[in-house]
C-alpha cells in the first residue's frame, strides 16, 4: 500500500508542469551558482596565495636594518579560502581579506571584497547556499501545498480513505513521494558539488575535514528540506482549502526566508551592542598608554621594569646590563600590548558571537536562521572561522616580535646602533595556518542543531495532527 502511495505521488509530481519548470529553474540556478562559486573561489585563492608569497619574499629581501625597523615593516597575511566556500560563501566577502602583522599593533582585517562590488551584489549574490536555503523551500511549497487539500477538493481523498488507507500512511507516503521527486533533482546537484570540491582541492588549509564537512552539510540541508516537506503536507491537510494552504505556506516562506534574517539582525543588535570603530580604537589606545585594572601606565611600567632589572643584576646603569635593555623593554611593552589586545579584541569577538547566538535562538522561530548558521559554520565561512584565523595570525605577529626583540637583547649593545640581516629575517617561520576540524565548528552550533531537530519534531507532530483532522473532515 505504502509503496503505491509513494509511487503515485512521485509519478504525479514528475508529470506536473510546476515540478518540471521549477526543477529546471532551480537546477539551472544550482549549476550556475556552483560554477560561479567555483570560479570566484579559485580566483580569490590565487590572488591571496600570490600576494602572501610576495609579502613573504618582501620580508626576506628587506635588506639590512635594525630588527625593530623590520618588525615595523612586518608581513601581510591573506586569509585562505575554504574550498567549501563554493557552496556557501558566508561572510567571506564581508570580512577583510588581509591584515598587517607589525610591531606594537594588532591591526584589524582590511579590504572587504564587498566594497569593490556594485550595489546589485548585495541583493543578487546568488550562491548554492542561497539557492538551497531560499529557492528549494519555495519549490517544495509550490509542489506540496495541494497534496491533501487538492485531493479533498477533487473528492479523491474520500475515495482513498474509503479504501481503508490509514490517513497517517497517506501523509507519510505523500511526504516521501515529494521528497523522492526532489531527490531526483538534488542528488545529482550534490554529486556535482562533490565533484567540484574534489577538483578544487583543499583550500590552503582554511578548514580541515572537508569531506566530513560536506557530508554534514548535505545532512543539514536534507533535514531542512524534510522540515519544509512536513510543514507543507501538514498545512495542506490542516487548511480548509488549497488557496488558504498556499497563502499560509507562502507567508511562512516570506517570514522565514526574507524577513527573519533581517529582523534578527536588528534584534541581535538591540540585545548586544558593538562599539563604534572610533570608540574601539580609543579604548585600545587608552588601555595601552594608561594601563587598566592592576596594570599601571606605560611610563610607570617602564620605570619599574628598569628598576627591577637593575636591582636583579646589581648594576647602576642600563648600559651595564649583560644584555641590551632596549630589546627587553620592547618585548615587555609588546607583552603588555598583547594583554590589551586579548582583552579588547576578545571582547569584540565575544560580542559578535553573542549576537550570532541570538540569531541561532531565533532559529526556533524561523528554521532558516538555524540552517544558515550551521551551513556557514560547516563550510568554514562564518565569523567564528574568520576569528580563529585572525587569532592565529596574531600569534604569528607575536612570534615575529619575540624573535626580533630577543635578537636586539642578545646581539646588540644599549644605545648603540645595530643592524641585522637576512639570517635573522629567515629565522621567522613562514606563516602556515591549520584550519579547524569539524568538531570545533560544531561546538558553537548546539543551538542551531537543536532548532533544526525541534522543527523536525514539530513538523512530524503537525502532520500527525493534520492527518487526523483532515480524515475527520472527510
Amino acid at each position: 500500500m505504502f509503496r503505491h502511495i509513494i509511487r503515485k505521488e512521485v509519478i504525479e509530481t514528475l508529470r506536473d508542469g510546476r515540478f518540471r519548470w521549477g526543477a529546471a529553474l532551480v537546477g539551472l540556478l544550482l549549476v550556475l551558482s556552483l560554477a560561479a562559486g567555483f570560479a570566484q573561489r579559485a580566483e580569490v585563492e590565487r590572488a591571496h596565495e600570490q600576494a602572501q608569497a610576495m609579502s613573504w619574499s618582501q620580508w626576506l629581501d628587506q635588506g639590512d636594518k635594525n630588527p625593530h625597523s623590520a618588525a615595523h615593516y612586518g608581513i601581510y597575511v591573506f586569509r585562505p579560502v575554504s574550498s567549501l566556500s563554493l557552496v556557501d560563501r558566508g561572510v567571506d566577502s564581508y570580512v577583510g581579506a588581509t591584515t598587517w602583522l607589525e610591531a606594537h599593533y594588532q591591526n584589524p582585517f582590511e579590504h572587504r571584497a564587498i566594497q569593490d562590488t556594485p550595489a546589485l551584489a548585495r541583493f543578487a549574490d546568488l550562491t548554492a547556499a542561497t539557492t538551497l536555503q531560499l529557492l528549494v523551500p519555495l519549490l517544495i511549497l509550490l509542489l506540496a501545498f495541494a497534496t491533501f487539500s487538492g485531493e479533498r477538493e477533487r473528492g479523491t481523498l474520500r475515495q482513498v480513505l474509503s479504501l481503508g488507507v490509514n490517513p497517517r500512511d497517506l501523509a507519510v507516503g505523500k511526504a516521501l513521494g515529494v521528497s523522492l521527486a526532489l531527490a531526483l533533482l538534488l542528488v545529482p546537484a550534490a554529486a556535482l558539488g562533490a565533484l567540484a570540491l574534489m577538483v578544487a582541492g583543499p583550500g590552503g588549509g582554511a578548514v580541515a575535514d572537508e569531506g566530513l564537512r560536506y557530508f554534514l552539510l548535505l545532512l543539514t540541508y536534507s533535514a531542512y528540506f524534510g522540515v519544509i516537506v512536513l510543514l507543507a503536507v501538514a498545512v495542506s491537510a490542516l487548511a480548509p482549502s488549497s488557496r488558504t494552504a498556499l497563502a499560509l505556506l507562502l507567508c511562512f516562506w516570506i517570514v522565514n526566508g526574507l524577513l527573519a534574517p533581517r529582523v534578527a539582525s536588528d534584534v541581535a543588535r538591540s540585545q548586544v551592542e558593538l562599539p563604534s570603530s572610533l570608540e574601539f580604537q580609543e579604548t585600545v589606545q587608552r588601555d595601552r598608554s594608561e594601563g587598566f585594572g592592576e596594570f599601571p601606565s606605560q611610563q610607570v611600567r617602564q620605570e619599574r621594569l628598569a628598576d627591577s632589572v637593575l636591582n636583579a643584576h646589581g648594576v647602576e646603569e642600563l648600559a651595564d646590563l649583560p644584555f641590551n635593555f632596549a630589546g627587553l623593554s620592547l618585548q615587555r611593552s609588546e607583552e603588555f600590548g598583547d594583554l590589551v589586545f586579548d582583552r579588547r579584541f576578545g571582547d569584540l569577538a565575544d560580542r559578535v558571537e553573542a549576537q550570532l547566538e541570538v540569531h541561532r535562538r531565533i532559529g526556533f522561530l524561523a528554521p532558516h536562521l538555524a540552517v544558515r548558521s550551521l551551513s556557514m559554520s560547516l563550510t568554514g565561512t562564518d565569523p567564528a572561522h574568520h576569528q580563529r584565523y585572525a587569532e592565529a595570525a596574531e600569534e604569528h605577529r607575536r612570534l615575529i616580535q619575540l624573535i626580533m626583540n630577543t635578537d636586539i637583547m642578545e646581539n646588540s649593545r644599549f644605545g648603540e646602533s645595530y643592524v641585522a640581516g637576512p639570517e635573522l629575517w629567515s629565522e621567522v617561520p613562514e606563516f602556515e595556518y591549520d584550519g579547524p576540524e569539524v568538531s570545533w565548528a560544531l561546538a558553537g552550533q548546539g543551538t542551531a542543531i537543536a532548532a533544526i531537530l525541534f522543527w523536525l519534531v514539530l513538523g512530524g507532530l503537525l502532520v500527525r495532527v493534520g492527518t487526523s483532522v483532515s480524515a475527520r473532515r472527510v
Binding site: R18, W21, G22, L25, L29, L32, E43, H48, Q50, A51, M54, S55, Q58, Q62, Y76, F78, V91, Y94, G96, A97, T98, P108, E110, H111, R112, A113, I114, Q115, D116, T117, P118, A119, L120, A121, R122, F123, A124, D125, L126, L135, L142, F145, A146, R243, L246, A247, I254, L258, P261, A264, S265, A268, R269, P275, S276, S277, L278, F280, Q355, L356
Partner: protein
C-alpha cells in the same frame, strides 16, 4: 461613466470583504513603519560619523593654530616630526582633512551601499580612498543579510503582497460561478478587469504612500517632497507592472491555484533569477582584480622607489629648478625626500588603481545596461539612487575625494619642495572639502527608471488587455 463608478465601488466593497486584503494592508503598514525606522537609524549613524569627524577636525585645527603661532613666535620648537609649520607634517596625519559624504535628504528610504562605504575619508598626502578608509565595526552576518529597509520592502515584498490580492482576479469569479453573471451585464470583459486592477492598484498604492509619508514624518527627519514625488511614481509603476502581470496570468483562464503558482514563478524569475544572472555575468565578464594584489604591489613599488629616491628627486628638481632650495639636491631635507618617494609610488600605482576602478565601473555599466531585463532591477536602482545611497552618488563622492586629494597635494607640493614653512594664516588657505549634490538630483536619478517601468507596465497591461478581447472570452468564460 456612472457604470464605471458603480463597478469600482462594488469591487472595492468586495475587496474589503476579503480577509487576505486586511492581512496585506496590516503587513504594509507594519513593515513600512519598521523599514523607515531602520533606514532612519542608518542615516542617523552616518550623520553622527560625519559630525564626529567635523568636530575632531575643528578641534585639531584650533590646536594646530595655537601651536603654529607659538612656533612662529619662537616659544616652541617641536621636533621635525611634530612641527606643524613643516608642510610635510601638516599635510599628513596632523593636518589631514576629512572628505565627508553628507546624509541625503531622502536617505531614510534606502540603506543601499551606505553601510559598506565609509562616509568619512581622511585626505592626506599619502592618499585618500573611500573604499579603503576605516570601516565601521559591524557584525558581518548583519551586512550579509542586508537591512529591512523601505527599498527592500518595495522591490521584494510589495510584488508578493500585490500578487496575494490579485492572483485570482478573474479565476475566483469563475470558480464561484459569478463570472458568467458579471459578463451578462452590459460591460466588456476589459472593463471588468480594468476596474479590478484599478481598485487593487489604488488601494495598495494609497496604503504604501500614506504609510511611507507618515513613517517619514514620524521616524525620519521629515519628507523631501521632490524625491518623494518621484519615488511615488516609481512605486506606482512598479506596482502597476505586478498587478498587470496578475491580470495577464488570469487572462489565460486557468484555475486560481495554478495562477498563484505561475505568478510565484514569475516573481522568482524577475526578482531573483534575472538579477542573479546579471550579477554573475557582470562578475564573469568584468572581474574586478583583488585588493590583495594591490597591497603587495604597493610594497614592491615602495621598495623600488626608495632605492631610486635620489634619482627621483634629481629628476624633479631638473624639471622644476626654481623650487630647489639653497644647496644641492643631495642636501635636501629627508621629508622632501620622503614626499618625493611617496608621490612617485602613488604615480606608479595609479595605473593599477585606475585599472581597478575601471573594472568596477565596467561592471556597474554592464549591470545598468542589463537592468532593462527586469523591472525589479530598474526599481532597485532608481530607489537607491533617489535615496542617494547607490553607485552613482558614491561614484561622485569617489571622484570628489580624488579631486580634493589632488588639490591637497597641489597645495603642499611646492611648499615641500622649496622647504618653506607654514604660517598660522596658511591654515585659512588650505583646500576645503565640499560635496556638491547634483542640482537636479532626484529627477536625474528617477527619470530613466520611470521610463523603463512605464514600458514594462504598458507591456504587461497591453498584452493582458489583448488577451481579454482576442478570443480570450472563450478561454475564460465557463
Amino acid at each position: 461613466m456612472n457604470g464605471l463608478g458603480a463597478m469600482l465601488r462594488h469591487e472595492f466593497r468586495m475587496l474589503l470583504a476579503d480577509r487576505i486584503v486586511w492581512v496585506v494592508a496590516a503587513a504594509i503598514l507594519l513593515l513600512t513603519g519598521y523599514s523607515v525606522q531602520v533606514g532612519a537609524a542608518a542615516a542617523d549613524d552616518q550623520r553622527t560619523q560625519v559630525e564626529q569627524a567635523a568636530d575632531e577636525e575643528r578641534e585639531r585645527y584650533a590646536g594646530l593654530r595655537e601651536t603654529m603661532t607659538s612656533v612662529h613666535q619662537g616659544e616652541l620648537s617641536p621636533s621635525p616630526f611634530q612641527d606643524p609649520t613643516r608642510p610635510y607634517v601638516m599635510g599628513r596625519a596632523r593636518g589631514q582633512r576629512y572628505a565627508v559624504l553628507p546624509v541625503n535628504s531622502f536617505q531614510a528610504t534606502a540603506v543601499g551601499q551606505s553601510d559598506l562605504i565609509p562616509p568619512v575619508v581622511p585626505v592626506l598626502l599619502d592618499g585618500a580612498d573611500p573604499r579603503g578608509a576605516r570601516e565601521e565595526i559591524e557584525n558581518p552576518v548583519h551586512l550579509l543579510a542586508g537591512p529591512l529597509d523601505l527599498a527592500f520592502l518595495i522591490t521584494f515584498l510589495l510584488p508578493l503582497l500585490a500578487l496575494a490580492v490579485s492572483f485570482d482576479l478573474l479565476s475566483r469569479e469563475r470558480e464561484q460561478g459569478t463570472l458568467a453573471l458579471l459578463l451578462s451585464q452590459p460591460v466588456s470583459a476589459r472593463r471588468i478587469v480594468a476596474g479590478k486592477l484599478l481598485v487593487r492598484w489604488g488601494l495598495l498604492m494609497g496604503l504604501v504612500a500614506v504609510a511611507t509619508l507618515l513613517s517619514l514624518l514620524l521616524f525620519a527627519t521629515g519628507v523631501a517632497w521632490q524625491p518623494f514625488l518621484f519615488w511615488g511614481v516609481i512605486v506606482a509603476l512598479y506596482l502597476g507592472f505586478w498587478i498587470g502581470l496578475a491580470a495577464l496570468v488570469n487572462a489565460t483562464g486557468r484555475e486560481s491555484a495554478r495562477n498563484a503558482v505561475a505568478l510565484a514563478f514569475l516573481w522568482l524569475v524577475f526578482v531573483i533569477v534575472i538579477p542573479a544572472g546579471v550579477q554573475i555575468s557582470a562578475v564573469f565578464l568584468h572581474p574586478v582584480p583583488s585588493r590583495a594584489e594591490l597591497v603587495a604591489l604597493e610594497r614592491e613599488e615602495v621598495r623600488q622607489v626608495q632605492e631610486e629616491a635620489s634619482a627621483v628627486l634629481a629628476q624633479y628638481y631638473d624639471d622644476h629648478p626654481e623650487l630647489l632650495p639653497e644647496g644641492s639636491v643631495d642636501e635636501v631635507d629627508f621629508q622632501t625626500r620622503a614626499f618625493a618617494v611617496n608621490q612617485e609610488v602613488q604615480a606608479r600605482l595609479r595605473p593599477v588603481r585606475q585599472n581597478h576602478r575601471e573594472a568596477l565601473r565596467a561592471q556597474q555599466d554592464w549591470i545598468r545596461a542589463l537592468r532593462w531585463l527586469s523591472p525589479t532591477l530598474v526599481t532597485h536602482e532608481a530607489l537607491i539612487e533617489l535615496a542617494g545611497t547607490g553607485d552613482a552618488r558614491f561614484g561622485a563622492f569617489e571622484e570628489g575625494v580624488d579631486r580634493f586629494h589632488r588639490e591637497w597635494v597641489g597645495f603642499f607640493e611646492p611648499r615641500i619642495y622649496t622647504d618653506s614653512r607654514l604660517a598660522p594664516e596658511d591654515l585659512d588657505r588650505l583646500p576645503v572639502w565640499t560635496f556638491e549634490e547634483r542640482s537636479s538630483g532626484a529627477a536625474h536619478a528617477a527619470a530613466p527608471g520611470i521610463l523603463g517601468l512605464l514600458l514594462f507596465s504598458a507591456l504587461v497591461l497591453g498584452i493582458s488587455m489583448r488577451f481579454l478581447t482576442d478570443g480570450g472570452d472563450r478561454r475564460w468564460t465557463p
